[in-house]
Symmetry: C2
Subunit: 317 residues, 2 copies
């Protein structure tokens, strides 16, 4: 079975761990969000790709969900001693090596997809990890800070500001000119199942779908497309998805996110048992829906979610 | 008193520490060798400039004479885990931060001289440190390894091969097209004294002099020019200078190195007391010469050497 998963960072990575456990024989291709990529200290940092790679490769800091286990922060401290920032992004020494290798390969002319494949040679994540695009896409957020309207990089909004300000607009800069990375459209066309994990519908999966050709390929694929709601009981399970949902005029409810993706895209939608009353509403919109436990409390709970998603895909086929 | 010093790495840096102690009120400008610069992992590494900066700024690893005190090697180990080399160059985590800042500033368009000044803002070396040139110069060495003639970067010759092969040629690639960095010629013209510390006469000071205009500015300066022999008793005090001296057809003796620099360049030359019998030979060549202890066993011994150099400069004025 060929499964294609559109993934953001922590939520996508943890879901993928459950999916691998639920479908060990499946051939899984991950189309990773690169809209939260950022250049820091002259280095190209791809937080979502790395979170997937480290999580599936056994190198993740399990407690925080991103970054490397057993990190030290010597380089970061030294950069601060030089007065070079930003200081709000927590790059550890082990993580720095990944960005150094990536930046060196990009400078040598390799596309991001080839670089990602080379990095995965070490990590052996057990999936084929593709960036959504080899072209530069960076999500920016419009905010009003101290009375002044500014546009900040998504990472600055998420990490420095902790999404404490309203997101007035979400702009995936460069997305309209980006092309899907090699293999992305082919994987979608050949898929038996396409899954949208409970990643952020706006700045993770929304950015992937904003690359011209990808949304069309997902919607037009022969495979059933099933998503898992990142909203449980009217609030995001993790992170601050409500802030960016509001920016695109979407309520923070499991049903509203399904409507936002649309019946042209989704064949099936899983909501949490806490949102069982949304099932009828989603199904009325033309999307098959089931209420199942959606809290990723561990690999077994997450594998059960993945099995439910595959089962709904079977039913929706 | 304005003193200009042409400096390589360890020997130059240690001499400068003695000179600062001997002449605390002097305004010291250092013209640093950049011919041993190397790009590693996509980062610009300037070993000689950094050795001067760290040594005078109190950050040097005193035992090895280069690199930072209290280093860790997490980034290097991670790069090796990615299979990315070279592994023979010992960059520590603290040191990496310096190269990351430098590379980022260079990529932003700052010349190396401005970058060096910015790095020195942190280290406060107590001297004005100028790279010999803002242009890229990299010394390469021709060797025969396993029967095959190869040209290797100087660092590969010095660090990986430990100068175990004969240097068949020494080529400062790019030197002929390089321009002196801003301030270099002005400092030489305004100097009261110009000193050549016991740095490598070929790959350190020789490379600086190979930048068109610098040798002429040193030779034509109003100030007396005094050098200190890096050869004591027929062997280099440190490093493998004999290997690269042989490549340019110079014997490893204190007198031969003075002849190599030439009477047009040098007004005075200090040899070690072990080489007292060279004094007459050097003086016969038109260069004032004295035999004094030249072992840099500590700051006081080195300060005494600096005082002897300044005294010989006074006498030669």
């Amino acid at each position: 079975m060929r499964i294609v998963v559109l993934a953001g960072g922590i939520g996508g990575a943890r879901f993928l761990r459950g999916l691998k456990s639920a479908a060990p024989a499946a051939e899984i291709t991950v189309i990773g969000n690169t809209g939260d990529d950022i250049h820091l200290f002259g280095l190209k940092v791809c937080p979502d790709l790395d979170t997937v790679m480290y999580t599936l490769g056994g190198g993740i800091n399990e407690d925080q969900g991103w970054g490397r286990a057993g990190e030290s922060f010597t380089v970061k401290e030294e950069l601060a001693a030089y007065g070079v920032g930003p200081t709000w992004f927590g790059l550890g020494d082990r993580d720095f090596a990944t960005h150094i290798v990536r930046t060196q390969m990009l400078a040598a002319g390799y596309p991001l997809s080839a670089v990602t494949e080379a990095l995965c040679d070490r990590w052996q994540p057990g999936v084929r990890l593709l960036p959504m695009s080899d072209d530069r896409v960076e999500t920016h957020i419009a905010v009003t800070e101290n009375g002044e309207r500014r546009v900040v990089h998504f990472q600055e909004y998420w990490v420095r500001l902790r999404a404490s300000l309203d997101a007035e607009a979400v702009v995936p800069v460069g997305a309209d000119q980006a092309k899907p990375a090699p293999g992305v459209l082919e994987a979608l066309a050949a898929a038996d199942v396409i899954l949208l994990p409970p990643s952020n519908p706006v700045v993770s999966i929304g950015t992937i779908l904003a690359v011209p050709g990808i949304r069309e390929a997902v919607a037009g694929a022969a495979a059933p497309v099933v998503g898992l709601s990142p909203i449980v009981g009217g609030a995001p399970v993790r992170g601050m998805a409500d802030k960016v949902l509001a920016a695109v005029g979407v309520e923070s409810t499991a049903a509203a996110v399904a409507r936002h993706y649309g019946a042209d895209l989704l064949d099936g939608w899983l909501v949490d048992t806490a949102d069982a009353d949304a099932v009828a509403e989603v199904e009325a919109g033309g999307i098959a829906c089931r209420a199942v436990p959606l809290m990723m409390t561990g690999t077994e709970a997450t594998a059960a979610m993945a099995r439910e998603a595959l089962s709904l895909a079977e039913a929706a086929r």
